[in-house]
Subunit: 428 residues, 2 copies
């Protein structure tokens, strides 16, 4: 950065701290300012282009004109709420529910993934009569009071009388992954029973994003879900990160596991940046909640959000983005594997579609987590103008999540600069 | 309605029920469908214009071009999140904080009022070490798990071990209103103490919207807030409904009470329909939360939301909407009082600025609540194409909340049709 840029960045950082307070965090040792986005590129004030291999919100590409036009058009005509009738929301609900397997027949709309997950907790408690939830040890499900407790990745201590139970993420990737994960879940259920806690449900991100990205072998979730259901709980698939084609083969991450969840929550890429989220449900799971509670979300399911959501589905379909995620994802996976052959620091390459966890350890898969090297790579790539991040309990997993419109040419740029960053690291 | 319109409405209602499930509610015995909005008018598919005297989200007028253009312009350029630097959010934060009294110096951004209130609970718990919250008996603060418990207007039973305490709304409107309300609050604090619950805060909508709209005498909140602070709790002003000029004289409802809250939550009209909300704070109240927790809200404070928020503040200023709310609000209040003189069913006219509670009782202020008549008036006005709603524990308060751009001509239409509806009711 030039001296001017640094001064301007430092000024913005100081203003942020003063105005937004102490709870906000910026990415990177040298935080970055963006002023424009187009497709897979983000631009800083000097006009430098950064390849976005991280942000899954603008999943069909930054400032996608089809989505922008849909928002602008509907905002100019009408933006009200769900206590009046509006056809666009129902068209969207139909189009969205058509992407789910039979059985998932209803959808409720919120503005954020946090609101969707929080609503799922309320519905799960009502339909099961239980209060105990099982989540993974480095889970992230949202920022509300109830979800912060179920998001150990936030680093907040669990209250002694908490009804939450934490289980290790399914990280083995072997034939017995499903059985091992189910064993932990059964252990949590037993512990609830011992403490007089009735189970409400198992809540997992179906690709275990914050745990470090665990996707294989497809199907491993089934035994755990069976155990929870046998104990009277339900299965909530948190699709906020894996949903909307992220895993390539299918629209939803749970589909890789051959499961039909009881509740499915979604958000981030749903409106390509417009705040829209939702919770799909088996109608029988929703019935009791509807009998006891009414639900209203002021902005949730408004006509502009519905128009944005429809536009995103149209782009996914018309641009063939599921097939693209699968194809470019496969290409990228091969490239990561080739990098792994040259850089022993890469201990494992995991993922599905266009969602990767590239784990860094000293001394192979059983070695020491390379957390500081992971941070160094993330920052080195930022200097080379490629955006990724880190995940996992030891923060030693490169979290790579390019937009669905990524091409093999973009993949080559990412791989080349990652290779350079790894080489530079080898030399230090 | 024509037979065709009824058929189309019934079809939409059936689709809604099938797709959105049992928890959603529609307004009116004959639900209404809108397809277009402009200023204070909403239009049904047949082109009929409805005068909007209820919706405080599109507070500067439906589809206000200045706000629509700001959203369209920013969405076409960039929509990211708060982990990168972006100047527009800081400009917005500065502009917004300038509307607060000295002492309220920081703001955090969410997407909905529910998220803002839920965040306020987390911050209050952290800075006080307490868990007990005091709310009014018919309060509404949001839909998250934690807020549903603090929103008795939802009709859900309070758990036996709940740390929430309910107090009657300050409905007396006399010299002793503040003392009576403070007595109830002190009673709740005493009860917490008896049960080993440490107080976290008093959370009130500063115009008590869902309780039935209580605004007078200005200043009545002070003794209760003093009592809560003396007991170690903080004061959270829920400005989701009264905020942004609704009460006329000032931007914020708490200002009428001569108070500086510890936390202030806001939402609904903040983006004129775009999902943006926030929590303003005294920095000293936020410090401990920031030291222990990081906060990230994927869509919260994104550049499009910031652009929408700035545009709303610009419209409020350039169109002189505070002064308008005060002037037209005063005119409307006089008109309601004149109606009251002719219709004894109106037992009280309350409110501030452009937010009114018109209470209906048989036999004067101490008489029987006229709930069915209130519902009849709301529905009769819908037939006369004027939109209002009802509030209060007995649902006998007409909730009238015209947009800030209401003129005296619009007020005359509202009054005329309300008069007609009351006359028609007298005859039945």
């Amino acid at each position: 950065m030039s001296i001017d840029e640094t001064a301007s960045t430092n000024d913005l950082i100081a203003r942020r701290k003063r105005l937004l307070g102490p709870a906000y965090r910026l990415f990177y040792e040298q935080p970055v300012q963006f002023v424009r986005g187009e497709g897979v590129w983000l631009y800083d004030p000097a006009g430098n282009a950064y390849l976005d291999a991280y942000n899954n919100v603008a999943s069909v590409g930054h400032s996608h004109p089809h989505v922008v036009q849909a928002i602008a058009r509907q905002a100019a005509v009408l933006n009200t709420h769900t206590r009046y009738l509006h056809e666009t929301l129902l068209d969207y609900a139909e189009k969205l529910l058509a992407t789910f397997p039979a059985g998932i027949g209803q959808i409720m709309f919120t503005c954020t993934g946090s609101e969707a997950n929080d609503l799922a907790l309320r519905v799960a408690r009502t339909c099961t009569g239980g209060t105990g939830f099982i989540v993974t040890e480095t889970a992230y499900h949202g920022v509300t009071s109830a979800l912060a407790e179920l998001s150990p990745s936030l680093g907040l201590p669990l209250a002694k009388d908490s009804h939450a139970r934490l289980v290790p993420a399914p990280r083995s990737a072997g034939d017995d992954t499903g059985e091992i994960f189910a064993r932990h879940v059964r252990g949590a259920l037993d512990d609830m029973k011992k403490n007089g806690i009735r189970p409400a449900g198992l809540l997992v991100d179906t690709i275990f994003s914050s745990d470090g990205v665990f996707a294989d072998p497809a199907g491993f979730l089934r035994p755990a879900v069976e155990a929870v259901r046998a104990a009277g709980g339900i299965f909530i698939a948190d699709e906020v990160q894996p949903g909307f084609g992220r895993t390539g083969e299918q629209m939803w991450g749970f589909a890789r596991h051959g499961l039909i969840p009881d509740l499915v929550t979604m958000g981030k890429p749903m409106g390509n940046g417009h705040p829209v989220a939702g919770m799909a449900a088996r109608p029988e799971v929703l019935a009791e909640f509807g009998a006891r509670s009414r639900y209203f979300n002021t902005f949730g399911g408004n006509p502009v959000s519905a128009a944005a959501g429809i536009a995103v589905l149209e782009v996914i379909e018309s641009e063939g983005l599921l097939a693209n995620a699968q194809r470019v994802g496969g290409y990228l996976r091969d490239q990561f594997r080739q990098l792994q052959a040259r850089h022993p620091l890469i201990s494992e390459v995991r993922g599905a579609g266009l969602f990767f966890g590239v784990e860094l350890r000293h001394g192979g898969p059983a070695g020491t987590p390379a957390a500081s090297e992971t941070a160094a790579i993330v920052n080195a790539l930022r200097e080379r103008r490629v955006l990724i991040s880190a995940a996992g309990p030891q923060a030693n997993v490169l979290k790579i999540r390019p937009q669905l419109v990524f091409s093999t040419e973009h993949a080559d740029i990412l791989i080349e600069r990652l290779d350079q960053s790894l080489q530079a690291l080898d030399k230090t």
